[in-house]
């Protein structure tokens, strides 16, 4: 039914303003979170100053708090997750869109979506009960015997094979971000017009050349976005990491040793944190995670701008 006259106009105005309020709500929520985080973190920030970020002490008894261990753990587990997640997701997406026989496409796509639907606590339990024992008994001894003996990177890979630690957490995170990135990559690669790809194949390009020269340039904005989406998830993931990282507030060189992340510190300690400085330091950790995620997003935007600029130069 088509409405006309004043009634239609009024409805239009209501509709437009309704959507506007919804959009403004996002800003409002972000600002509100930011303000409450800042207010909550203020006592700790005032007490410790900039040393909060560079101190590796986390001592609830003497109320000396520093975020370095948690920041380091968060960043390192996320980097490991990306090192594993990005290439594998890429492989999955390329296989599905370019090389996979048609009858296999749907089953693989469904499997990926199912993986994405698994709650993170399940990954955590699986990591703790299945992956960590296997990793500790079979893979870690091998890692510390081979990689651990190498000159420069050796210290990163030596230590007792506990099966629990920063590396395990990074690998679990990697597995967790794969379904997200793979399904977005796949959707992206699928919208590349066939005519472009076919012309490239037509002039004798290999599959890899088509991916590199046609598919990637066409989808780069989305690809960067998907990687950031995965990175965002890795930075903020809580339960799965808590189960396998070992939750030790010490800075260790070895990736095989236990560590901590910002979100698992929060999950573990918030309920029983007493005293203003303790609670406030935990909120300050939350603020740092917020800023870290923000910086990642900003960096992504900057990368995209750089990419588009270069394009302009080339043509």
């Amino acid at each position: 039914m088509i409405r006309s006259g004043t009634k239609g106009r009024i409805l239009d105005i209501i509709f437009a303003n309704g959507t506007r309020i919804c959009a403004l709500l996002v800003f409002l929520i972000i600002v509100a979170i930011m303000v409450s985080l800042l207010a909550g973190a203020w006592p700790a920030l005032k007490k410790f100053g900039p040393s909060f970020i560079i101190s590796s002490q986390w001592n609830p008894v003497t109320e000396q708090f520093g975020a370095l261990v948690a920041i380091y753990g968060t960043v390192v587990t996320s980097i490991i997750a990306m090192l594993i997640g990005v290439p594998v997701s890429f492989g999955i997406a390329i296989f599905i869109t370019e090389l996979c026989p048609v009858w296999l496409k749907q089953p693989i796509a469904t499997a990926i979506e199912l993986l994405a639907a698994i709650p993170s606590i399940i990954y955590g339990m699986w990591g703790l009960f299945v992956f960590a024992p296997f990793f500790g008994d079979h893979i870690e001894p091998w890692i510390s015997d081979t990689l651990g003996r190498l000159p420069v990177i050796g210290p990163l890979f030596s230590g007792p094979p506990l099966g629990i630690g920063v590396l395990t957490a990074g690998i679990i995170l990697g597995i967790m971000v794969i379904p997200f990135m793979a399904s977005v990559f796949r959707d992206l690669f699928e919208v590349v017009p066939s005519v472009l790809k076919e012309s490239a194949y037509g002039i004798g390009a290999t599959t890899w050349e088509v991916i590199k020269k046609i598919v990637l340039p066409y989808t780069k904005v989305g690809v960067v976005g998907a990687i950031m989406l995965g990175l965002g998830r890795a930075l903020g993931e809580t339960m799965a990491v808590t189960f396998v990282i070992g939750n030790a507030d010490r800075l260790e060189t070895s990736l095989l040793m236990p560590g901590n992340t910002i979100s698992s510190s929060l999950a573990n300690q918030f309920t029983e944190a007493v005293g203003e400085i303790y609670t406030s330091s935990l909120i300050a950790l939350g603020l740092i995670l917020f800023l870290l995620t923000f910086m990642v997003l900003a960096l992504a935007k900057y990368l995209l701008i750089r990419l588009t600029l270069k394009e302009g130069v080339r043509t």
Binding site: Q57, W58, N59, P60, V61, T62, L128, F129, A132, P133, G136, P160, L162, G163, I164, G165, T242, F243, G246, N247, A248, D249, R250, P258, S264, A267, N268, Q269, T271, E272, A273, V274
Partner: protein
């Protein structure tokens, strides 16, 4: 369409209104609420369901952690709070609260050493502290071996396991370590979460239990119930009287019976390192917190009646869940204190 939505809305409003009046009907108390410690939650829930069947009074207990329980009773949003660690008498005075011990449990060191069975390994206080300080790093260390003649200990690394989350269990355990070692007291201290010198952290009792189960050479500490239910290898500890004791109901109750409850202001008694040759050195009680001046005396009376019933009739239920009931002597002391400590606005006692 509009009318149906309207009728639905009215029905909702009516339902909500009727719930409101049903809940807060003055005079007769139908429900009491509490919040706090997670450790006693299973037994409080069990008692509550038995009590509900008997009297129709419902207990709504949120196990949000001791810290949250203290906050909520201070703000009077619940009728009672619960904390695994006792509050200091000066804090009780400051906040106008009263506390009493309700139920006990023990913290049990558990190990995973190939060839060592439950109760075989004996460890003194000093050795336990040195392991948790990271000074003793191998199981065949002479200090451990000298306490365990005849037990063959492998030369594998000791992996220390502790709680990652803030918890009353950690509070009791570190309290024990601080009492027996000056070095621990100065370097690490006693709190619900501490800066552990070594080791890995598991989330919750179940997290520690699963780490100990899977890591060869590990040593952790869990609630007694978890050690039993997961069939973990507990060890014997040397108590203050110099005897090696195994963790069980009798040694926990011995610790409680030997503690000086009478002389303790505000029932501030920590059951670690108690005298007596049968006392388990890492025993702890979980406490209930009440407002000293009650705005609603009838609710306070209902709360106290519930806990009185638990003291008198809940012992078997507690034992079934591997909790340790308070000894009779302590119960009598607590109920005496109710008479004088908890009053309504006009200063009249609420109990009995």
């Amino acid at each position: 369409m509009k009318t149906t939505a309207y009728i639905f809305l009215m029905a909702m409003v009516a339902a909500i209104c009727s719930m409101e009046t049903g809940g807060s009907y003055a005079g007769e108390v139908k429900a009491i609420s509490g919040a706090g410690a997670t450790f006693p939650y299973p037994i409080y829930a069990k008692w509550a369901s038995a009590y509900y069947k008997l009297t129709g009074i419902k207990l709504n207990y949120q196990s949000i952690g001791s810290g949250g329980g203290i906050k909520q009773i201070k703000a009077k949003t619940v009728d009672f709070g619960a904390s695994d660690a006792p509050l200091k008498p000066e804090d009780l005075d400051k906040w106008g609260l009263f506390q009493f011990p309700m139920i006990m449990g023990g913290v049990v060191p558990v190990v995973n050493i190939p060839g060592v069975k439950a109760g075989q390994l004996k460890i003194s206080n000093k050795t336990l502290v040195d392991i948790y300080l990271g000074k003793i790093r191998k199981w065949n260390d002479p200090k451990i071996a000298s306490e365990n003649p005849g037990l063959s200990l492998p030369g594998i690394n000791i992996t220390v396991v502790h709680r990652a989350d803030g918890s009353g269990t950690t509070w009791i355990f570190t309290n024990f370590l601080s009492k027996v070692s000056q070095e621990w007291k100065e370097k690490v201290g006693n709190a619900k979460a501490v800066a552990w010198p070594t080791g890995i952290g598991g989330k919750g009792n179940e997290g520690v239990a699963s780490y100990v189960k899977r890591i060869r050479g590990s040593l952790g500490y869990v609630e007694y119930a978890y050690a039993l239910q997961n069939r973990l290898t507990y060890i014997k500890l040397k108590n203050r009287a110099g005897a090696y004791v195994a963790p069980n109901m009798d040694t926990f109750q011995a610790a409680a019976a030997n503690a000086d409850w009478k002389g303790a202001k505000g029932f501030y008694v920590v059951l670690t390192d108690q005298p007596g040759k049968d006392s388990w050195p890492i025993t702890g009680a979980s406490f209930i917190l009440l407002q000293r001046v009650q705005d609603k005396p009838e609710v306070a009376k209902a709360v106290l009646s519930f806990f009185d019933w638990c003291y008198r009739n809940g012992k078997e239920m507690a034992k079934k869940l591997d909790y340790v009931p308070m000894p009779e002597m302590v119960v009598n002391l607590v109920e005496e204190a109710w008479k004088t400590e908890i009053k309504d606005k006009n200063g009249n006692p609420v109990w009995p």
